[in-house]
């Protein structure tokens, strides 16, 4: 933590950056903070409660952050994947951001939690994650931690769902989606939702109905998942912020599995990696086409 504060202080004092986007201790738990003065660098923390993906603040959809000037961002390995995604999609330039990578062995599900990291308290996405250390980073801080505790539960749950007959699976997802209130929190928190105008807001023509009945909700959930194919950094933020606990993490994981199975693509924090959408191979599988 000392390392992080000292590095941030010198970056700010040297004028290399105008703002450091990191986490601080808030009234209830860890929360994002924008440090613009070297003397404030002591507020920065990093521990297992630093759940938030701060890459969302780099998105051009948040011009107020951009106005602060050149930014340094503290990034876990999954956050670095989102930063890489923004660079890949020409939303930001590599030279416009300083990435302070932090080594990570999993985070808690709740940033306000006071418990230690264990198989029960760990965020659902972390078990099985193999990224300990971001490679897209100008500085890498911290000791190499042990892998996150617990089992990779999501894949087992997906296999379980896939084994169900389709009608049961439909009933399962309809019951989950029935709770959706279309608050768009999943979209707001997503670092890779960078569209100026989201398709869910288009009214002429009205692509996605805005009321919370099954037609509109299904169209929204499917579109959200589809639009993140090959782009999702699996930072789990949408899953965390969903006020009605729709298992968006499961969906994101399934999309990642589809993209890996079909196109051999896995999300990395390499900004030069080719994306699966917007590209094609002549020999792509087409067993579903008659």
């Amino acid at each position: 933590m000392k390392e992080l504060q000292e590095l941030s202080r010198s970056l700010l004092a040297d004028g290399q950056v105008n703002v450091v986007i990191g986490w601080e201790q808030g009234p209830t738990g860890a929360r994002p903070v924008f440090v613009t003065k070297p003397e404030d660098a002591d507020r920065l923390i990093f521990d297992q409660r630093c759940v938030h993906n701060l890459a969302a603040y780099l998105s051009p959809r948040r011009p107020n952050v951009g106005k602060l000037g050149k930014a340094a961002i503290v990034a876990k390995p999954c956050d670095a994947k989102a930063v890489a995604g923004l660079i890949r999609e020409s939303q930001i330039k590599r030279e416009d951001v300083v990435v302070i990578g932090v080594r990570c062995g999993g985070v808690l599900a709740d940033p306000a939690s006071k418990e230690a990291l264990s198989a029960e308290t760990v965020s659902e996405r972390c078990p099985g994650c193999e990224s300990r250390e971001p490679t897209l980073a100008d500085h890498v801080l911290g000791d190499m931690p042990p892998p996150p505790p617990g089992e990779r539960r999501r894949d087992a749950r997906i296999d379980e769902l896939e084994a169900m007959p389709p009608a049961e699976r439909w009933a399962f997802w309809q019951a989950e989606f029935e709770r959706c209130v279309r608050c768009n929190a999943c979209r707001q928190v997503c670092p890779l939702c960078t569209c100026d105008r989201c398709v869910t807001e288009k009214t002429q023509p009205l692509w996605i109905e805005s009321s919370a009945h099954s037609r509109g909700v299904f169209a929204w959930q499917l579109t959200r998942a589809q639009h993140h194919a090959g782009r999702c950094a699996d930072c789990g933020e949408c899953d965390r912020v969903c006020p009605v606990d729709i298992p968006l993490g499961l969906l994101n994981r399934e999309v990642a599995r589809i993209v890996e199975r079909r196109f051999g693509f896995e999300m990395t924090d390499d900004p030069a990696a080719a994306e699966p959408i917007g590209a094609f191979r002549m020999e792509d599988e087409q067993e579903f086409i008659r």
Partner: protein, 157 residues
Amino acid sequence: MVAFVCNWCTYTGADLAGTSRLTMAPNVRIVRLPCSGRIDPLMVLKAFERGADGVIVSGCHPGDCHYTSGNLHARRRFAIFHDLLQFFGFEEDRLTFSWVSASEGLKWREIVDGAVERVRALGPFEGFRYDRLSHGEPLEIPISTVAPAPAPAGGQA
């Protein structure tokens, strides 16, 4: 049933089926688009939302695209769309993807007859008709649409 087809291959193929006087199931309404690359998954969903029981999506065979690669980009998008619908438990037989070239009038008939037969076996699509707003009754909320443009002042008598 609704068919979203590309202008250059499948539409011409369907036209050929017509001019060849081939008899086929009369259930399908065709929506012609410039390319299968123009077919957004939301169009397919919209068709189901508005009461279609089945949808056909069809374009040029790989390599034959009028715009070189529109169908190949579309294929990746459809692959993800198809797999996601499967994961959501959507009845697979309601959605037919195919490649039909301009000379394949006969294949178009096969695709249409096959799709109609599969959908007929499933019956009407009711996936969106019952939810918490419907309280067990079929949902008959009018589908919100864009209001038609007002008639110009002093228009036709």
